[in-house]
């Protein structure tokens, strides 16, 4: 048993209360511990990625209770990849936040670590009910993070965010209850062996539970028609929090990928691939609505939020194809969209910070400090987000279009992905040219506020964009890993054998 597997959960779980209790009054110490813990998390993630890359699926049984009776953590290629992505994003976001954002409210670093604990737990757990518990951990931390700094609009948006997620949690429990009632298990691997055996009378209950779960994960992934919470939440959340939330929508996507390839795939008998017919139209609509939102947005934060919705649509179109090639493309796009969305939220905050009074509204106003530098970063981020060459968004969309070529509704997919790319380009050009270009011709300037401009926030935003560039340059090796990941996902018997033991499949 590889004890490293539990560390991504235990490490933040220890550091968070330590920061909350022992370093409450010492922001410098809290920063040091928070950054060190997150950096350690990144190293752990890379070590686990190395372990998972061998192709074996590692399990960790808590208290040494054998699955399916005990709680089990599972590390495969997909979860290792998500751990590394989370740690990398959060380290950069933390570098941005320690420049002042973390002092605008209390307990930023403790909540940040609890959030990481919940996200890592959701990626590692091999059990439904624990997935629910880790969802709650990450949500409760995110409620606190969302309200960080306070303010009228933010609290209002926060209330809405909490309510939609409480309703989502309720649905989650109903779905888990339905699935448990007909299969008698909460372990995902065990569920995969039980689903084909469900009696014909109980199929309706099983399918209702599975589709309800899809709805719950769609709320997290901001899929139409349950996307409406995202623009308000992300645009009103503090910038580093919004950037970290870029991984939260991916938690929903991860759960969809995990559950519907493992338990409702080829071997599921009557319930095989039941997610696809629901997911595909919803994803296509999400893409269209998100990119139309980009075109209509009146503030930069809103624009990026809608771009996140659009990118979730693109990602889930590829997921809904449920072929290994499309899954590999979807995972590539997932990495790209997390890095790019994070970078764009940070850039929006750079703009807001430099335009007191105007904020991120897309208006013509006098030029602000470092407009060309921030504008340049925005230009790069917009290129990546819209999916233009040469950055990773282009490769991601290309891979998705290529994998959709033989699909049933290839025409719709191609038309919408290409058409909405144009919408995104127009939207982002309009926003960028108004803010950075037309404004530079105006007379006067904003008072510098605050007078000294630290380099760290710009470096942080630049690092995320550099991640997008690296993803483009190293698309070959990354693609190989993702192909192997997709192959592993579409051979669920490996996962089941690893969790239940080779003979567990037939009890």
């Amino acid at each position: 048993m590889n004890h490293l597997i539990i560390f991504p959960i235990v490490l933040p779980a220890i550091v968070a209360p330590l920061i909350a209790m022992a370093m409450r009054h010492d922001i410098v110490l809290a920063r040091v511990f928070s950054v060190a813990a997150t950096a350690l998390l990144l190293m752990l993630g890379i070590a686990l990625l190395g372990a998972a890359d061998g192709g074996a699926i590692h399990t960790y049984t808590l208290g040494n209770w054998p699955a399916p009776f005990g709680i089990v953590l599972v590390l495969d290629r997909l979860s290792a990849l998500m751990l590394v992505l989370t740690a990398a994003l959060s380290l950069v976001v933390l570098l941005y936040a320690i420049n002042g954002w973390d002092t605008r409210g209390r307990h930023f670093h403790a909540l940040f670590q609890f959030q990481l604990m919940g996200i890592n737990g959701a990626f590692l757990t091999g059990d439904f009910f624990n997935l629910f518990v880790f969802f709650e951990v990450l949500l409760i931390a995110s409620y606190g993070m969302m309200l960080h700094g306070g303010g009228k609009e933010r609290v209002k948006a926060g209330v809405q965010y909490v309510i939609i997620n409480l309703a989502g949690s309720t649905l989650f429990l109903i779905a888990v209850g339905l699935i448990y009632s007909v299969t008698g298990t909460l372990n995902m691997a065990h569920l995969a062996t039980k689903v084909p055996l469900v009696a014909a009378d109980d199929q309706a209950l099983l399918k209702t539970g599975a589709v309800l779960l899809l709805l719950v994960f769609s709320v997290k992934a901001a899929l139409v028609p349950v996307h409406f919470w995202l623009p308000g939440t992300y645009a009103n959340a503090p910038a580093p929090v919004a950037a970290l939330f870029a991984i939260m929508t991916k938690v929903g996507a991860y759960c969809i990928i995990r559950l519907y390839t493992l338990a409702f795939g080829d071997g599921a008998g009557d319930a095989a691939w039941l997610a696809a017919p629901w997911l595909m139209p919803a994803a296509l609509l999400t893409l269209l609505l998100g990119m139309m939102g980009v075109l209509a947005a009146r503030a930069l934060g809103q624009m990026v939020s809608f771009a996140v919705i659009g990118s979730m649509g693109t990602l889930l179109i590829a997921v809904a194809l449920f072929t290994p090639q499309a899954m590999s493309a979807a995972l590539y796009y997932l990495i790209h969209s997390t890095l790019t969305a994070g970078a764009l939220f940070l850039i929006v905050d750079l703009v807001t910070d430099r335009r007191p009074g105007q904020g991120d509204a897309i208006t013509v106003a006098p030029p602000f400090a470092q407009a060309s530098l921030v504008g340049g970063l925005f230009f790069l981020g917009a290129i990546a987000m819209a999916g233009m060459p040469p950055l990773s968004g282009f490769i991601g969309k290309l891979l998705i279009l290529d994998s959709a070529r033989t699909a049933l509704n290839a025409g719709w997919i191609w038309a919408l992905v290409l058409g909405t790319s144009l919408l995104a380009i127009v939207g982002f050009s309009r926003g960028g040219s108004t803010l950075f270009w037309k404004s530079s011709a105006q007379a006067g300037s904003f008072e510098p506020f605050p007078p000294v401009r630290p380099a760290l926030p710009i470096v942080a935003a630049g690092l995320l964009l550099a991640g997008s560039v690296a993803l483009t340059v190293f698309a070959g090796p990354v693609g190989l890993y993702l192909d192997a990941t997709a192959a592993q996902l579409f051979a669920p018997s490996g996962y089941v054998d690893a969790v239940l033991g080779a003979e567990g499949g037939n009890e």
Binding site: K156, V159, I174, Y180, S181
Partner: protein, 117 residues
């Protein structure tokens, strides 16, 4: 007993959804609480309804009541209890800061929103 439990779950859910859709913070909080009660009873019944049976498999072999849903309900109760407390505080804070108890973010036209005295 099945009818009683089923209709209780149905009634609680219906009332909860209705209150949730009122889109004012106080009814919404009540609605969420009702929904969580409904879910708790629902989860409880997912282990099949039995009376006067132990939660362990005994030697007598006269059946048992499934202990797992009870453990799940316990977790769900704790979480929903904490979340209800949180949403009450947030709703109060939001009302005090914005002067309206509407849940929607968009500014509401007309005199619908109750303004703070």
């Amino acid at each position: 007993m099945e009818f009683l439990v089923a209709s209780a779950v149905g009634l609680l859910t219906a009332a909860g959804v209705y209150l949730l859709l009122r889109a004012r913070t106080y009814p919404v909080v009540l609605g969420l609480a009702l929904l969580s009660y409904a879910v708790n009873v629902f989860l409880f019944s997912m282990g099949r309804l039995t009376v006067n049976l132990p939660p362990v498999i005994g030697d007598a072999g006269n059946g048992y009541t499934d202990p797992l849903p009870q453990a799940l309900v316990l977790t769900a109760i704790v979480i929903s209890f904490g979340m209800t407390a949180l949403i009450v505080v947030m709703a109060l804070r939001s009302y005090l800061e914005s002067g309206t108890d509407h849940v929607s973010i968009e500014p509401v036209d007309g005199a619908e929103g109750e303004s703070r005295p």
